[in-house]
Subunit: 348 residues, 2 copies
């Protein structure tokens, strides 16, 4: 008797398939099927259109948790990105999110500190959400166990920004070549003593840029003293302290390559604080070409690296990994941008 009459109590706020089914007078499975057909299509049946219309009216939003439980697909990508306040990282993150949205995925973001254990813990939490794929931006090169642990989760994973050795695919920019370009530029200008504010050792970005720069210098037959390479962090403060250490040397450099623009800004500040001037006393090369270095009173010579494309390409590769079970590592090209912060060394 009392059959299919009640408007169906919408569980907890949101209407469900059942609610629509009751409203229309059909079975839930019919609604489910109908809703994944295109109502605009010319061969859409009358009832498909009707179901779409009513669903729309009722403000139906599918419950993706329920769907995911059934299909074993969450359409969710985990992103582990320390240092989000670095413009380059943020650009990459934004690009990942855009590409993911375009592909029908959503982003679960974790921004733990740039430490191995914190990142692994974030990954565990994301794994509990049954993410379909994982993007990790801050692999530590000196901790192969990090990669091991990540792979153990059994989730399609790609590294971005920093590469990983071996089994983990990565989409990066060509940091080695970028470093090479920087070194080559300074050598070509006539510099013979070149300091490197080299960033942290565990980051492949910093490491590769440093090695590339060294290679460019030594391949010209110029020696690179150990003391000319100072390891720091990626922040302004790192640039400041790194510059002071270099300028305190008995035989200080005439040029400094900082492996990222933020540190380069610190270098510039330190140089100024010592009463020296760029580029007259010290030539300076940064890295990344973040938007503001071109607007500084002395615009920086720097390396332009494609942060946003790196993000979208990484997501594309990850999707390939998810859907086709295979992905590739890619290294995106970089280029030298010459501006006012570099010139020939001062003749004493």
């Amino acid at each position: 008797m009392s059959n299919e009459t009640e408007p169906a109590p919408a569980a907890h706020g949101q209407p469900t398939l059942k609610a629509i089914a009751d409203a229309v007078g059909v079975h839930v499975s019919t609604v489910s099927r109908a809703l994944k057909r295109d109502p605009e299509s010319p061969d859409a049946s009358k009832s498909v259109r009707r179901i779409h219309r009513i669903a729309e009216q009722m403000g139906y939003r599918p419950n993706l948790m329920a769907a995911g439980l059934r299909t074993n697909r969450s359409y969710t990508i985990g992103v582990v990105m320390p240092r989000l306040t670095d413009v380059v990282i943020a650009q990459t993150c934004e690009a990942i999110e855009e590409a993911a949205t375009a592909a029908g995925y959503q982003i679960l973001l974790a921004t733990p500190p740039d430490e191995v254990n914190a990142q692994l813990q974030s990954i565990q939490m994301l794994a509990s959400r049954r993410i379909d794929g994982l993007i990790v931006s801050s692999i530590h090169l000196d901790r192969p166990d990090m990669v091991e642990e990540i792979l153990r989760a059994g989730i399609p994973t790609i590294a971005v920004n920093r590469r990983a050795d071996g089994k983990l695919h990565a989409v990066t920019t060509d940091d080695y070549h970028g470093g090479y370009l920087a070194g080559e530029h300074l050598v070509n200008l006539g510099h013979r003593r070149i300091g490197i504010v080299a960033g942290p050792r565990h980051a492949s970005t910093a490491w590769d840029r440093t090695q590339g720069c060294i290679e460019a210098i030594t391949s010209r037959g110029i020696e690179v003293d150990e003391e000319l390479i100072v390891h720091t962090d990626f922040e302004v403060q790192g640039g400041i302290s790194g510059a002071h250490r270099l300028l305190n040397l008995a035989d200080p450099p005439t040029a400094i390559f900082a492996v990222n623009d933020t540190a380069a800004i610190g270098v510039a500040g330190a140089v100024r604080d010592r009463g020296l001037s760029i580029p007259r006393d010290i030539s300076l090369v940064g890295y990344n070409d973040i938007p503001l270095v071109s607007q500084l009173p002395v615009p920086f010579t720097t390396i332009s690296s494609p942060a946003a494309p790196m993000g979208s390409v990484a997501l594309q590769q990850l999707l390939r990994g998810i859907n086709e079970g295979e992905m590739s590592s890619l290294k995106l090209p970089v280029s030298l941008i010459v501006r006012a912060s570099t010139t020939v060394p001062r003749q004493n």
Copy 2:
């Protein structure tokens, strides 16, 4: 006969409660209960410990989608944050994420363009994930329908960064007072013609800072010409074009207040390109005190605003809204940082 003997086929990769139950030889419900007791506790029963141990061994990770489906709680917060590449936004986002993680929540991030419809669409997508709460950073002040539409989703929501009128609670910094401090500072130095690079009209941050600055000036009996207020975006380019428009005036300003540091960097670039110098010809006040403006050759006078606290406080309020059904709007204090970019107006 063949009862509870097989090791239980772990559904699709990850072990489930059932798998553990079979391994231990108890029922799933027992496992479920045991796993949410603390095995370290002195009064933890032997079997609780055993179940924890085996779960650990098998690498069990709870399926939060399944749990959420049952409990109607996703332990997930949606964050809609356009302009993630702005350091201030990124700082806020990072703080939200940290606070959320600490509270056992995870972040679903969307970074749509800073447009009403794009943001609303992101919110719809997040709603499908049954997020427990929502944080929106870029309310458009001139679009009250935006707030209406957001509230319609029926999700506990708080605005951050930019306030909203009326029904939507917001955690912001005291932009009006910040603008006031900037204006007051310039007037106190003796400036009478002060230009404002005022950002977009739809952002309460930009708007309030501008209004505060105007109030500070007019309350000293100084008139603010319409032409001295130029609306732009928040980017370097906006600062450049805004500055040029101001400096092209028949009676150009002797000081410029840019409502954010990024635009201020653009202003500084434009001033330099016209052969003028800061602060000799033009005094400049920025806003936010982003890390690098203190390291510039001429460090900026600016307003320091607590971007990270804003994020964590917003999350705390949101949690109150979720758990207790009530939250408050808060306005965090700001302060003036005087550096080298401002001085008394040049005497002609």
